[in-house]
Symmetry: C2
Subunit: 255 residues, 2 copies
DNA sequence: TCGCCAAACTTGTACATACATGTACTCATC
DNA sequence: GATGAGTACATGTATGTACAAGTTTGGCGA
């Protein structure tokens, strides 16, 4: 239940267009109303209209250019920051019932590599969670979460079988403002295989995520492994628009 | 070799800031010059400065907010549209020597599933390419490309062992303006395994890409499979900024 | 009928201004 | 020294204007 506050004009316009596209009032290939028309429709000036268009453009929903009318592209999926960070939230939006079976929650001193990935000194206390996540009661993903104690203490005080850790952190006033994800593939190890009910070595889609506060403090370092036939990532990019993704080469043979 | 044309102001500013961050003149955590300072530095108005900032924000390089100074985030990688669509271009930027060993190039009528993915009628002619790609002479990725004849004819007339098909299409006047990628994991089949010199079933990072013209015509449908210890995807997202990615669930057991 | 050109309209870029809204600092006061 | 009000300054939002640079349209002339 997000606060409703009075919506900004550009947000109003973006929401209208996005909804109209999703509901099919504008089909792929159709022309959107011109900026001049939209300013009249919303009794606004060109600024907010262009800001809304810019948003939809980076979401990959529309394409525009000098002289050309703005057209609707394929009806591609995009998700907001909140939808994509929380498995529970994501399931709700897809009309799926999320589930979780916590394997263990620990508090212990960080060994070297974990400390490095959390950007804390060796031996500092770390809270770790290991859960199996389910979609409609079907095993889908194994989740390994690690928190420095400052944020992990909220997790220790939380029943991890009851729902969304992300939502709990928000409620506790933790300001999650940015995430960085690295995606690759990895074979299921014995733990993964047992929980997901597949053979050892089954290819899994691995998403390693690090979440930060606005001030830059690291909140979480996680490792999620999805069954690839249950979930996949989609990304849109448009020439001339900024991109938030990169394909990176790993010279060193890490794992 | 892209045309240099006179750069726009906002592009000038964005380029300056991006370079300064990459080269470490602004460290993560540092404050960027205020908008007012930048307008003076570049003898510009606030519009272009804000447009540049907006670009860097969606690239995940900076964070800003009402009342707060704009700060540099971690020095995260991001790549432009051109860098990420062309394996050759990508390698060059990373100081890697790209290579390719073409297995075959064919022209044939599309069978049902391929026709569907190319959005053309069953039986329409399709040009397909199957290549092994190398980084510094080391097998890294297997590439399967499919083009409708309209665009594929340029590929047929091209020596696919000589370099970048993408660059060739550009040179032939094909306007590639948008791509959509789906990322998941899959085990190496016999062809993959033989070329990549790994056992059958080895987990691979699969990137299925579809490329479109500005008008919406489908140019290419491809399937790239990377050795996950050679390459991975990275994505940044910031709360409140538009996102161009989505995690999608596959209810149906496709492959 | 065909081809060319000018006009009208589209989106992109830039400038100037105003006010909203949040942060951070100064400084007087207790 | 701690506290709190006030102030200066930061970015966010909105308006209005102007021009640049493409595309589309329609009419005119050959």
């Amino acid at each position: 239940m997000t606060q409703q506050r009075t919506r900004q004009q550009y947000d109003e316009i973006a929401h209208y267009l996005r909804t109209a596209i999703r509901e099919g009032h504008f089909q792929p290939g159709d022309e959107l109303p011109s900026e001049a028309e939209l300013t009249r429709t919303f009794t606004s000036s060109r600024g907010p209209v262009r800001q809304a268009m810019s948003t939809l453009r980076t979401e990959g929903l529309i394409s525009s250019g000098r002289g050309r009318r703005t057209v609707v592209l394929d009806n591609v999926p995009t998700q907001s920051f909140d939808d994509i960070i929380s498995f529970s939230q994501w399931c709700h939006n897809a009309d799926i019932v999320p589930g979780q079976r916590t394997q263990w929650v620990t508090r212990r001193p960080a060994e070297k590599s974990l400390a490095a990935s959390l950007q804390i000194p060796d031996g500092d206390p770390v809270v770790s969670v290991f859960r199996l996540r389910l979609m409609d009661d079907v095993p889908t993903m194994v989740e390994r979460l690690n928190y420095p104690l400052e944020f992990g203490r909220h997790v220790l005080a939380f029943d991890t079988d009851s729902g969304s850790i992300y939502q709990e952190l928000i409620d506790q006033g933790v300001d999650i403002s940015r995430t960085s994800r690295t995606i690759d593939a990895i074979g299921a190890n014995e733990d993964d295989a047992a929980l997901l009910e597949v053979p050892v070595g089954t290819p899994l889609l691995r998403v390693r995520r690090r979440a930060f506060t606005g001030a830059g403090a690291l909140i979480e370092s996680s490792d999620d492994r999805y069954l690839p036939w249950k979930a996949s990532f989609t990304m849109n990019s448009t020439r001339g628009n900024p991109s938030s993704m990169a394909l990176t080469s790993n010279h060193l043979g890490e794992n």
